[in-house]
Structure formats: structure tokens, C-alpha cells
């Protein structure tokens, strides 16, 4: 027995020794200025042509810069474009590029842009986000293989002049050109290495950082690109991006100083975090909306009265204030506030009625539509198993059943992947969903209700007046006039209510107060080139 007691003691001593050993180590081992960014999920790719996630954009946009880019406030500012001109009909834009180099010293030319846009739209590239580029002339036929890539409306005139032709005037083009699908790629590298061009040993970039290492599910590591045109104004030398799939764990790592920032945390943690680390918490309206989608091919939901009744019975204020609790704004329109060139005047007709009044109205509408004790309204509401959605479901179920006891609602949780598959094939009754704008423009929301957007138009709602207005607006050059027409279209959609707006998203970040240059913004894009650390800025500019 003596032996065993000794052995146990040894084991404990060993563990204690390991723990002590660990404390002696510091994670700063050079003069390099390093930013540790929590970055939501593991990137599926770093090829701008194959990416589709905001977390991928966070990394890719630190490495590449398109014709336009985002400043610290998320506003569109010129990137590779030095100057530009739009033709009178708004269909042709000519860009003059700044002089810039890839990280291997080769010049960045208009030919790289032409090559990149042709590449992403070539069917063989299998770019699943290419459809965002369809405003470019012939983009769709090229993308589906009906036309050769050379027929795409993008042409390099010389090394520094690029012409982009459009299907319709799109005054929001500069905003679209900040999107990663429009980034240039180094033609000489892609042609040499093929799909392996994004590997750390091959990749060349034109932005502030270049890729050093990518360890799956562990981190992506980038370092300063000395040849970046604005390199002298970049403060951070190296960035590590960590996938932080578990919010609670990510919060702990920020509070412990292991991560400098994370760009999402759980809404329920907000009160706790406000109390523990008040100067870390950043909450700001986001360019996105939570909505419920009706399957209007079903007989009961083909009737706008039924759709409106169910829409008005939902107590959005309760959901925002008591369930989500992170500053979400109750939504009475489909387009979030703060969208550029948009009046934002459209509103659901009954938005200011108190909820009891709306419930009474809803009952009247349903009775008018032929429902009642002898003909109950029965449907199933399906929702995604992720995030706050499961906590919203029982609340809205209750809201609907309060209209009358002959409104009978089943709620059913569905795995996210299956949910989208069901919605795409219109195999659902009433389902939840969310949309985050790709770029700051109203059309990027309104297209979700266009007839030609099926299957992305999960509702299958089709309205000629709406389609005509949206199409007309997209042919209008004058931004104000266009905005007015889009708002008119939005009003039609709200009156018909194929989608029920619930709340506008907020973006939630924890940012160590040491980090400077972070500005909360509606697009929730925060490029590392604008950031620094306060202790570095307070001192001298050396090092």
C-alpha cells in the first residue's frame, strides 16, 4: 500500500509541476504586432471565387482588395480604382486603376480583373456565389454555360483601364464592387498552379496581408504584405483568425485576453457581459432581417388576408425585448434601416396598432377569409435548430393561438440544412429564415420576392405590379428616383405579406478596449488594416 500512496502523490506532483511550468510562458515572443481575431467558423476556402461566408470574407478581404473597399466605418471607398466614369445610359463604367503590385512584385493590372471575373463566372469554377454578379452584362448566360466567358461584359482596355458593362443601370455598382466575388486574382499565379493557387506557398495578394499558414479548424495566419500600396499606414503586422464555433468558449477567451476580438456572441450573454466587461461590448444594427416565409402555393396561404392576420398577431416588441434581448429592432418593413440611397418609407399598415387591437383585427380577417370554429386554421411552423430560433418558436405559436382557439399551430424544429432544402422545394407551410445583405442596397433584399428569383423566393409569391416596379427601378439611373420606386415595390410586398418581417438583426462583438480603429457599422465588416493597439498609438510611432 505504501507503494501506491507514493505513486498517487507523484502523479499529483507531476500535474502541479506541469501547471506551474505553463504559467512561466508568455505568448509574446517578438516585436511583431499581432492581432488575434475570433472568426466564427472554419473557412471552407480562401479562394474569393469559391467563398460564400462572412467569416471567409473577413480573411479574404484582408488579403485582397477590389475596385472598391470598406473603410473602418464600413462605408464604400475606392480601393484599386483611382477614378471612374459612368456612361450616360448608366450601362457602362470605365475604371482607371491605381498603380499597385502583387505581393511578388508583379503589377496588378486590368487584365487580372478581367481574368478574375471571367474565371468566377465560368461554370467549371463551381463558384456558388457567382449569381451576385448577374447585373454584369451576359454574366448569367456565361455562368450557366450558354455563352463563352469572352462575351462577358468586362474588358481590359489597357493595363490600367477596365470597362464593365451592365445589364441594367445599377447605381449601387461601387458597393457591389467591394464584394469578394469581384476581387482580382493574380492571373500569373492561378494559371500556373490551378486550384492550388490559394495554398500558402503559392498565393500572391494585392491587399495589406498575405497568407502564411492555414491549420484546419485551428487558425489562419496572415502577415504584412510589404508591397501593399498603403503599407505604411498599416499598424498590425500579423493576424491570426480562429474559428470560434462555441460562443461561450469564445467569450471566455476574449475575457482572458487570448483573443483580441470576436464578431459574434450569444444574445443571452449580453446582460452578463455588460456587467463583467462593459467596455468590450459592441452592439450595432446590422444589414439583415429575420423573417417568416409563407408557402403561398398552399391554399390557405394564397390568401393575403390570412398572411396579414398571422403577421399582425406576432408581438415583435416582446420577442425583441424579452427573448432576443440584444437590442434587436422590431421589424415593420422588409429592408433594414440605414440602407444607402433608400428612403425607407415603406411600413406595414398596422405597425402602430397595439398588439391586442391587432389580434382583434387578425381574428376579423381570418373570419372574413372563411375560418372559424367549424373551419379551423391549422398549419405547421418549422424553424431552424440554431441560434435564437428555437426560443422564438413557442412565443409565436402562442401569439397565433391567442387570435382564436380555432387557430391551431404545430411547431417543428428542423435541422438547418434540411430546412433550406425544404424551403427551396416549397415543401413547407410556414418557415423561419434570415437574410443578411451582400452589399448595401435595397435591391439585395427586394429580389427575394421577385418571381424570377424562385427557388430563392421561398414564398413562390408572384406579383406582376411588384416585378414590374422592381425591374423599372433597376433601369433607372437617378438614385433618388430609383429609391422611391423600390420603396413603392416594398410597400406592395408588405401589404401582401408573403414574408413576415420579425426583427432586424444586430451585430454583436466583443472588442478588447486596447484595440483601436474598430468602428461599429451596419455591414459588420472590419478590415484589420484600420486597426491598431492603444498602447502602440499612445507611445511613439517607432517599431
Amino acid at each position: 500500500m505504501g507503494i501506491m500512496r507514493q505513486a498517487g502523490g507523484l502523479a499529483l506532483a507531476g500535474i502541479a509541476a506541469l501547471a506551474l511550468n505553463a504559467c512561466g510562458r508568455s505568448n509574446v515572443d517578438s516585436d511583431s504586432v499581432v492581432l488575434h481575431r475570433g472568426n466564427m467558423a472554419e473557412p471552407l476556402t480562401l479562394d474569393p471565387h469559391k467563398a460564400s461566408g462572412t467569416w471567409e470574407n473577413n480573411i479574404i478581404g484582408d488579403m485582397f482588395i477590389g475596385l472598391f473597399t470598406e473603410d473602418a466605418a464600413g462605408e464604400t471607398v475606392p480601393g484599386m480604382a483611382e477614378s471612374w466614369e459612368m456612361s450616360e445610359d448608366g450601362l457602362s463604367w470605365t475604371f482607371i486603376l491605381r498603380e499597385a503590385q502583387w505581393s511578388d512584385g508583379e503589377p496588378v493590372t486590368a487584365y487580372d480583373f478581367e481574368y478574375a471575373l471571367r474565371r468566377i463566372l465560368t461554370p467549371e469554377t463551381l463558384a456558388n456565389y457567382a449569381s451576385v454578379l448577374y447585373p454584369i452584362r451576359n454574366a448569367r448566360p456565361v455562368n450557366v454555360g450558354d455563352m463563352a466567358p469572352e462575351e462577358l461584359g468586362v474588358r481590359a482596355v489597357d493595363e490600367r483601364t477596365l470597362v464593365i458593362e451592365l445589364e441594367f443601370p445599377a447605381p449601387y455598382l461601387p458597393g457591389l464592387l467591394t464584394h469578394y466575388t469581384t476581387f482580382p486574382v493574380p492571373r500569373h499565379v492561378v494559371e500556373r498552379y490551378g486550384d492550388a493557387w490559394v495554398q500558402p506557398q503559392n498565393i500572391q495578394t494585392n491587399g495589406p496581408y498575405r497568407l502564411v499558414d492555414w491549420r484546419a479548424s485551428n487558425f489562419v495566419h496572415v502577415t504584412r504584405n510589404e508591397l501593399f500600396w498603403d503599407n505604411e499606414n498599416v499598424c498590425i503586422d500579423e493576424v491570426f483568425y480562429y474559428p470560434t464555433v462555441d460562443n461561450a468558449a469564445a467569450e471566455r477567451r476574449v475575457r482572458n485576453g487570448e483573443l483580441d476580438l470576436i464578431t459574434d456572441f450569444a444574445g443571452q450573454s449580453l446582460p452578463f457581459l455588460r456587467q463583467q466587461v462593459p467596455d468590450y461590448v459592441r452592439v450595432h444594427p446590422y444589414l439583415g432581417i429575420v423573417y417568416f416565409s409563407f408557402n403561398t402555393t398552399l391554399e390557405q396561404f394564397a390568401d393575403p388576408r390570412v398572411r396579414n392576420a398571422l403577421g399582425m398577431a406576432i408581438d415583435r416588441d416582446f420577442i425583441a425585448e424579452n427573448i432576443l434581448r440584444a437590442g434587436q429592432i422590431p421589424a415593420y418593413s422588409f429592408i433594414p434601416p440605414g440602407v444607402d440611397n433608400y428612403p425607407g418609407t415603406a411600413r406595414i399598415g398596422w405597425f402602430d396598432a397595439p398588439v391586442e387591437e391587432r389580434r382583434r383585427l387578425a381574428r376579423e380577417l381570418l373570419e372574413e377569409a372563411g375560418y372559424g370554429p367549424n373551419n379551423p386554421l391549422r398549419f405547421t411552423y418549422t424553424f431552424r435548430a440554431t441560434g435564437d430560433n428555437p426560443r422564438i418558436a413557442p412565443v409565436v405559436q402562442q401569439d397565433w393561438q391567442l387570435i382564436a382557439d380555432w387557430v391551431q399551430v404545430d411547431i417543428q424544429v428542423v435541422e438547418t440544412q434540411i430546412h433550406y432544402s425544404n424551403m427551396r422545394s416549397a415543401d413547407y407551410e410556414l418557415g423561419d429564415g434570415g437574410w443578411i445583405g451582400d452589399y448595401n442596397d435595397a435591391y439585395n433584399f427586394l429580389f427575394l420576392a421577385e418571381t424570377e428569383s424562385v427557388p430563392m423566393n421561398y414564398t413562390r409569391w408572384s406579383n406582376e405590379a411588384y416585378d414590374t416596379l422592381v425591374a423599372q427601378a433597376n433601369r433607372t439611373i437617378d438614385a433618388e428616383e430609383r429609391g422611391r420606386m423600390l420603396a413603392e415595390a416594398e410597400q406592395i410586398m408588405l401589404d401582401e405579406m408573403p414574408y413576415i418581417p420579425i426583427v432586424y438583426y444586430v451585430n454583436k462583438s466583443l472588442v478588447n478596449p486596447r484595440v483601436t480603429g474598430w468602428e461599429d457599422n451596419i455591414v459588420h465588416i472590419h478590415r484589420t488594416r484600420w486597426m491598431c493597439f492603444s498602447d502602440l498609438e499612445d507611445g511613439s510611432a517607432e517599431g
Binding site: M1, G2, M4, G8, A11, I15, L18, A19, N21, A22, C23, R25, L44, T45, L46, D47, K50, P123, E124, L126, A127, N128, Y129, A130, S131, R140, N143, V144, G145, A196, V198, Q199, R215, A216, S217, N218, F219, H221, Y242, P243, V245, D246, A248, A249, A250, R252, R253, R255, N256, E258, E415, Q417, I418, H419, Y420, S421, N422, R424, P455, M456
Partner: protein, 310 residues
């Protein structure tokens, strides 16, 4: 002995084939597919993508192609990670999971055996109750509770260790592994100490231990050379599948401590319908179970003179 080994390995091949086949068709039968995204692709593009991964073929053809790939040791590309193959993903994640799993199981065997033996030797004493109490706590507090508690206390509150992740420069350093290994080991320590206690008590009452004592052998020698040897037998049968489960990674540990292991990858892949990654990990898992069970059986024979393989 050798013929036994050969026979077992031969049986393993059809077993794995059956597992692959069942997993393949179950995966395809699950609703939804890898290309159902929040922003759906235009139908033409979707067709292109499906064709590029051979998913436009009839299911039997896909199965035949997949099996042909397996025969060439080719697990195929990931359907989600555009720049990676399944082999890449396993090669990156498995070492992390295997290291944590191996350390945990070693720690658990070491601590659990000692604790169980002490409890058995001093049955119904304070030491015994302490061990039983600790192991009950170990079983009833699951890792997804214990992990965050340890991270909060040791990491955040006392500031002794990082709360998660690997070291960006040095990878799996000691300080990064302590908490996950302990968290993963605790329930195993509990199970092993209880197994050990029960079988030790039984062995201590057996005739040959009494004989050994009667011969006048010193107590330590009786316990280590005679009692322990047969008392670990139930443990050996338990450890085969348990080790396989720990080596292939724990989603909970990898989530709570943000570790880039294969367990998290497996669950993610299943949820996102990344068929090929799921299949790859299933094959890995099945092979490990078969191998570790075989090792457990061989060890069993080596330790137990009553068992002979021929």
C-alpha cells in the same frame, strides 16, 4: 495464436465493408444535401456542382465509384471544404484528437486503477467512501459541464492556464492540453475506478490470493503480482472500445476548448451533409474499434491463463 490473429483480421474486412455500405446509404437517405445553402444556387449551377462531384449519377453508381475509390485508398474530396480532400482533413484533425484521447485514457487508467485498488483494499473505510464519492461525481457531472467550470476557474478566475485553443506557434503545448485531458479523463477515471474496485474486491476474496497470503508472501507482492493481474481483466475488455471512442475525438471537449480535432469535424460534416468526410471518419473509427478490440482480446489472453487462442 497466429492463425487466430489471421482469422480475426480476415473477419474484419467484411465487417468494415458492411459498415461502409450501411453508412453510405444511411447518409444518402438523410434529407437535405451538401449543396442546400442559405443562398441557393441557380438551378443550372447546382446541376454543374452535382455533376462535378458525381452526385448526378444513380445512387448505385455512386456507391460503386466510392468503393472503387476506397480500394485505391482514395477517400475523395470534401464536399464542403473546397480546397481539401478527406485525407487532408483526417490528417490534420486526427493527431490532435488522438493525442488528447491517448493522454486521457492513460491518465484515467493510471489514476483509476490506483483509486479503485485503494478503495478495494480498504473496503468500507473513509478512503473507500472518498473514492466512491469522487467516482460518482465524475459520472454524474458530464464533460460539457465540467469543461466550462474548469476553464472558468483555472483559466479565467485563477489565470493559470489558457481557456482554449492550441498555441498558434507551438501547437499542442502542455499548458493547452492539461484542461481538455483532465476533463475528458474524469468520467473515465470514475468508470475505471469503480470497475477496478469491484473486480479487486472479488479477486481479494479468491482462493489463490488466500493461498499466496498463506505462503507468507509480503502484502505488496500479493497485490501487485497476483491480485492486480486478474483484477485488471474486466478493465481490459472495457478499454478496447473506450479507447477507440476517446482516440477519435470528443465533440464536447473539442467544442468547449476550441480544439481542431476530428470529433467536431465529424459532427459538423454530418450536419452539413459532407458525405465524404463523414464516410472517411466512419471508416477510421470502425478500423480503430476493430484493431483495439483485437488488441484487448490478445492482452486478455496474455493476462488470463484460462484463455487460450489457437
Amino acid at each position: 495464436m497466429l492463425s487466430y490473429l489471421a482469422r480475426r483480421l480476415l473477419v474484419a474486412i467484411p465487417t468494415i465493408l458492411v459498415i461502409i455500405t450501411v453508412a453510405f446509404f444511411m447518409m444518402r437517405a438523410a434529407p437535405g444535401g451538401p449543396f442546400d445553402l442559405e443562398r441557393p444556387m441557380p438551378e443550372e449551377i447546382r446541376q454543374n456542382v452535382m455533376a462535378a462531384y458525381g452526385m448526378d449519377q444513380p445512387i448505385w453508381k455512386q456507391y460503386v465509384d466510392y468503393m472503387a475509390g476506397i480500394a485505391r485508398f482514395d477517400l475523395g474530396p470534401s464536399l464542403k471544404f473546397r480546397d481539401k480532400t478527406v485525407a487532408d482533413i483526417i490528417a490534420e484533425g486526427f493527431p490532435v484528437s488522438a493525442t488528447i484521447g491517448a493522454l486521457s485514457i492513460s491518465l484515467a487508467v493510471f489514476v483509476g486503477t490506483i483509486m479503485g485498488s485503494i478503495a478495494a483494499l480498504r473496503q468500507n473505510s473513509a478512503a473507500d467512501y472518498t473514492v466512491v464519492g469522487i467516482s460518482t461525481i465524475g459520472i454524474v457531472i458530464p464533460p460539457f459541464v465540467m469543461g466550462p467550470i474548469l476553464a472558468l476557474l483555472v483559466g479565467l478566475h485563477w489565470g493559470l492556464l489558457p481557456t482554449g485553443g492550441l498555441d498558434p506557434r507551438y501547437g499542442m503545448t502542455v499548458e493547452r492540453l492539461i484542461l481538455p485531458v483532465i476533463t475528458l479523463a474524469l468520467p473515465q477515471i470514475a468508470i475505471i475506478s469503480r470497475l477496478m474496485r469491484a473486480s479487486m474486491i472479488e479477486v481479494l476474496r479468491s482462493n489463490y490470493v488466500r493461498t499466496a497470503k498463506a505462503k507468507g508472501l509480503p502484502a505488496a507482492s500479493v497485490i501487485v503480482r497476483h491480485a492486480l493481474r486478474s483484477a485488471v481483466l474486466p478493465l481490459v475488455s472495457y478499454l478496447g472500445p473506450a479507447a477507440a471512442a476517446l482516440l477519435t475525438g470528443s465533440i464536447v471537449i473539442e467544442q468547449v476548448f476550441q480544439l481542431p480535432g476530428i470529433g467536431r469535424q465529424f459532427v459538423q460534416a454530418a450536419l452539413q451533409r459532407d458525405y465524404t468526410v463523414v464516410m472517411g471518419v466512419v471508416i477510421l473509427y470502425a478500423s480503430l474499434i476493430i484493431i483495439l478490440n483485437l488488441i484487448a482480446d490478445l492482452l486478455y489472453a496474455a493476462l488470463n491463463p484460462k484463455v487460450k487462442y489457437d
